[in-house]
């Protein structure tokens, strides 16, 4: 989820670059197919949605797609990429509607399996800080369509790094699993590969029996100003229930904040997950930020802010989901109501027929 801080090429250039990248990836699929009949087929997945949001009385209509491509190459290498393409239609006072289009490459990475406990990632990757950036920026995975207020903490403005990362599992058994990630990113002002010079990493412990995960993240911006970012996260999903609790705390040099959200799919109230009632999922998110000193670059609100969101999601058959939510944001700049709805579809298709 990049911001507009980086210099971008003109729209025609970006379109040509995007199409070229996609064409190269498709060509690689073809080369890979002919190279090995037993090769796992590449897949195209991701989410496509139509979102509306009314914030303080202003409504935006946003058709959005986040396609993901995964291309296995042999047993130890794969290439993955995800793009975000959206248009934002909004009402211009007294002059009908206007819109802008936003396109970016979220990540384009090569994953090299370096052993039982390590994978080397090279290219552009999602910054591993907290949980939201890597796990929940795909619109199919989101219970609320808005990013948390503290999303900017540790994600180095663009949400992506350009360089290398080592990640893996230290050990895993039936009682605990420990995993890690560490990265270094160079500075890049390229429109599709915008990144800040930075380094960081995270470690987390997951306890399968209780469904609890605790993790810590650290990031250091190495640009003109060196700054540290710290984060903690706690997730809890009790076994054999439809309940989930997710939370994060993040601290930047001049601000800090937290969010937590819960959702409960009503599958246990009778009929299972595919019943009319079991497809319902009430969701709730609370978040708060605290400003210690002015800072235009950390991405957090300029003033202390609280926000509560209540939502109801409905899981339709055939990979379609409906989201609705109401939120109220409180800050010294004024309180606002936020209404959101969205219709999201998940696609998952192979690029050719498997020989398995």
């Amino acid at each position: 989820m990049k911001t507009d801080r980086v210099n971008k090429p003109s729209p025609p250039q970006r379109l040509a670059h995007a199409i070229s990248a996609f064409a190269i990836l498709c060509a690689l699929c073809g080369v890979s197919t002919s190279a090995s009949a037993q090769q796992d087929p590449a897949i195209i997945s991701g989410g496509i949605g139509f979102l509306t949001t009314t914030n303080g009385g202003n409504t935006n209509y946003i058709p959005e797609a986040r396609p993901v491509a995964v291309l296995p190459l042999g047993d130890h290498l794969q290439i993955e990429t995800r793009a975000t393409i959206l248009s934002n239609f909004f009402h211009r006072t007294g002059d009908g509607y206007d819109h802008f289009t936003f396109k970016t490459m979220d990540y384009l990475q090569a994953d090299v399996k370096a052993g039982s406990h390590a994978t080397i990632v090279a290219g552009e990757f999602l910054t591993p800080f907290g949980t939201y950036n890597e796990r929940l920026t795909q619109i199919w995975n989101q219970t609320f369509q808005d990013l948390p207020l503290i999303y900017g903490v540790g994600t180095m403005n663009t949400g992506s790094g350009l360089g290398g990362m080592v990640r893996g599992n230290v050990f895993a058994n039936d009682r605990a699993s420990v995993s890690y990630a560490a990265y270094y990113s160079a500075n890049s002002t390229s429109g599709y590969f915008g990144a800040e010079r930075s380094s960081g990493g995270q470690a987390q412990v997951y306890l399968p029996e209780s469904g609890v995960e605790i993790g810590a993240s650290y990031g250091r911006s190495l640009g003109a100003v060196h700054e540290n970012f710290e984060g903690m996260h706690l997730w809890w999903q009790p076994v054999d229930t439809g309940f989930r609790f997710r939370s994060e705390f993040g601290r930047a040099p001049h601000a800090k904040g937290y969010w937590f959200e819960t959702d409960y799919r009503l599958q246990q109230l009778g009929g299972g997950a595919d019943s009319a009632l079991g497809r319902l999922e009430p969701v709730f998110r609370m978040q708060q930020t605290f400003r210690d000193a002015p800072d235009n670059n950390d991405g957090l609100p300029f003033v202390n802010t609280k926000r509560a969101d209540f939502g109801l999601d409905y899981h339709l058959p055939h990979e379609i989901r409906v989201h609705t939510s109401y939120g109220r944001q409180f800050s010294p700049d004024g309180n606002v109501n936020i209404w959101e709805t969205s219709l999201v579809y998940r696609l998952l298709i192979p690029t050719w027929k498997s020989k398995h």
Binding site: Q13, P41, E80, A172, L348, I349
Partner: protein, 103 residues
């Protein structure tokens, strides 16, 4: 610049059409495998039939998203490999997940 855009657009459309055409024959087999995977998921979600692959799926993949409806042999390999990196799966968990998705 304009000719470059037209060439790349034509190239992308051609390759996309080829990719779509090559995936069409698998539509029927995918619908069969979808039925198999659907029954597999509903069967394996029963707590009386614990399975390591199912546990791996529930503990790693299902914490962020539900199971895809159209899982089949054509997609399970790439899906499991994606999750191996994204969820930092161990080798044993990766193999169990792969077996669960494509027994």
């Amino acid at each position: 610049m304009k000719s470059l855009e037209i060439i790349t657009l034509g190239l992308a459309v051609s390759i996309s059409a080829l990719a779509a055409a090559s995936s069409m024959p698998s539509a029927q087999s995918d619908s069969q495998s979808q039925a198999q995977s659907t029954s597999k998921l509903s069967r394996s979600s029963h707590p009386a039939t614990p399975d390591r692959g199912q546990r791996v799926f529930q503990q790693n993949c299902a914490r962020c998203h539900s199971a895809p409806e159209n899982l089949g042999p054509s997609v399970s390999g790439a899906v499991a490999r994606h999750m191996r990196v994204r969820a930092n799966l161990s080798d044993a968990d990766f193999r169990a997940l792969l077996h669960f998705l494509n027994p």
